[in-house]
Amino acid sequence: MKLYEYLAKGIFRTEGIPLPEGGVAQTPEEALAIAKDIGYPVAIKSQVLAGGRGKAGGIAFANNEMEVINESARILGSELKGLRVGQVLIEEKLKIDKEYYVSITVDNFIKKPIILASSQGGVDIEDVSEEYIVKKVVDMEVGVYPYLGREIARKMGIKGELMNQFSSLVIKMYDLFRKYEAELVEINPLVRSGDKLIALDARLNVDDDALYRHQDLPRIVEGEEWEIKAKALGLSYVQLDGDIAVMANGAGITMATLDLLAIFGGKPANFLDAGGGAAVEPMAKALSLLNDTKPKVIFINIFGGITRCDDVARAIIEVRKSTDFSAPLVIRLTGTREEEAIQLLQENSLSAYKSMEEAARKAVALSKPSSGCSGGR
């Protein structure tokens, strides 16, 4: 889960990380009130979960009341990278003497936390040449001590008193990383303004699987309409731009199903992983959701392992009872309790494929304008 900049900054502030003064506003009037408190000039920053806001016009500066009203009005309610801006962060505009980058994440290969830092901040870290990036792996049993911060500072060319400021900052970032079980804690840019290091931006991405231990955090819902609905049902769902709705069991096989449809010339409408051992009820809900997205074809691809094919059949039959399927169903079922499932389907005038590829070909065929026949084999 990604936190909005202003939420991340709220947490950074409680940890004692130096930040610009500021406040969050939902209307130009609120923005103005905050700006008055801070004094001019101010920065007006759109609060959306996307990078590169500056280039996209999501960050503005204002030197007086008129500019605050105009710019915050422009940004609030606008769309930035497909995301509606509901809030702006109003902050003092600092004098920037130098921009740095610093983050803590995990190196998936080494399987340990890693601190990344650079003297070339304010830009996308991927665009920074390797020689300007300092990397330090953290042993979780040891943690981060000031010397590690000083060592990073040294390699970034930060000296003297700033070295200690940087070191203290890195320790606080690591404390946040651990305390909030973060996937990413990032400051970009970290700026030197006079003799102070200040976090101009703040990112905090928290592990979804650990959220249950962080009841104090707000729950940020991200994504498009169907993704949010699917997430509320506990499903792993990604919206795509095709017309064949897909449900499979397991992330790998769901991806393979999408690939197969694409290879056969079809266009998948979504990724929906019903999971490894879903029962009748969740599966029925998933199917209803797919139906609601009004695809041209619904393709169900189940290899029964823990998932029992008869449960899948029951889920299909249950949904059919309460809803009309708006699109033809293509069903592929094999594995655990396959025969019981086939019988159940037949009793309800449905049929299923045994082969994933045959089924995929059929789904693609049904999605094409030329073919107008109804579901089933």
């Binding site: 991927e126 990604v238 992330a251 096989i253 991806m255 094999t334 994933m356 590829e357």
Partner: protein, 288 residues
């Protein structure tokens, strides 16, 4: 021979009294796995599926000489379960549990590494040495003993491919799931090395997916292998920047993308199947 587990492996089931734990204990016993004990704290003395339950893993090791463990406990308890197994001297741990908090997994991995423990998972279907023993949750019916080693990052997709192999009369030495999470205990390279050394394994199937750089690392090692490898990578049609279920399946800025993986593998001499059923075709050709 198979790798990592065989019919003599003495398995303790952690979380044996839970719904998943008891169901899969029965399935593992049915497959022939030498399940010697179960552990559920406070339930010591019970029996589940004919298996004695102990309060601690140390007791299971002491009383029943367990040397491998499979963990079915809920995600919030998984770290402690893994730590307990390591503390008790278990040398192979299969963590089936999914949705374990990421920082917990990091700590588990750090601890298994420091203690020289083989950690399979988390979020893995487990491991099966065909005809000998299965530790985990894959369907018993799909496996057949034979000369092919299978290593994978996903569950059901592996069942699909293994099932294809078995249907065509191509058996397996060992099939292993690394686990679907962003960080897991073992890498493709770890397992490829074992298959390379295993006398019975004649060819290897590698089932990868987008995200991370594991497959690219595997390709480097495969260049030095004497045994042929057939690959399949899922996620060809996945749009960049979207999560596809597994925490690992994130494509960001091209790194870890489909093409990079397929090209690396092809350059290493791997035959990469375009659709899952081709894997069995390629393997059949290689074993002719």
């Amino acid at each position: 021979m198979a790798i990592l587990i065989n019919k003599d492996t003495r398995v303790v089931v952690q979380g044996i009294t839970g719904k998943q734990g008891s169901f899969h204990t029965r399935e593992m016993v049915n497959y022939g796995t030498n399940i010697v004990a179960g552990v559920t704290p406070g339930r010591g003395g019970m029996e589940i599926e004919g298996i004695t339950v102990y309060d601690t893993v140390a007791e299971a090791v002491e009383q029943r000489q367990a040397d491998a463990s499979v963990i079915f406990v809920p995600a919030p308890l998984a770290k402690e379960a893994a730590f307990e197994a390591i503390y008790a001297g278990i040398k192979t741990i299969v963590i089936v549990t999914e949705h374990i908090p990421f920082h917990d997994t990091l700590q588990i991995i750090s601890y298994t590494q420091k203690n020289g423990v083989v950690q399979i998972g988390p979020n893995t279907f487990g491991i099966c040495s065909a005809g000998q023993a299965k530790i985990g949750i894959p369907p018993n019916s799909i496996f057949t003993p034979g000369p092919v080693g299978v290593v994978s990052r996903s569950g059901t997709l592996t069942y699909e491919i293994v099932s294809n192999l078995s249907t065509r009369g191509i058996g397996q030495t060992t099939c292993l799931g690394l686990g679907g999470d962003r960080v897991v205990g073992l890498s493709f390279v770890d397992i490829l090395k074992m298959f390379e050394k295993d006398n019975e394994t004649r060819a290897v199937v590698l089932v990868g997916e987008i995200g991370g750089r594991q497959e690219e690392d595997a390709a480097i090692y495969i260049k030095s292998m004497t045994k042929p490898v057939v690959g399949y990578i899922a996620g060809k049609s996945a749009p960049p920047g979207k999560r596809m279920g597994h925490a690992g399946a994130i494509i960001e800025r091209g790194a870890g993308g489909f093409n990079s993986k397929v090209e690396s593998l092809k350059q290493a001499g791997v035959k990469v199947a375009e659709i899952p059923s081709q894997v069995a075709d390629y393997i059949a050709d290689l074993l002719k």
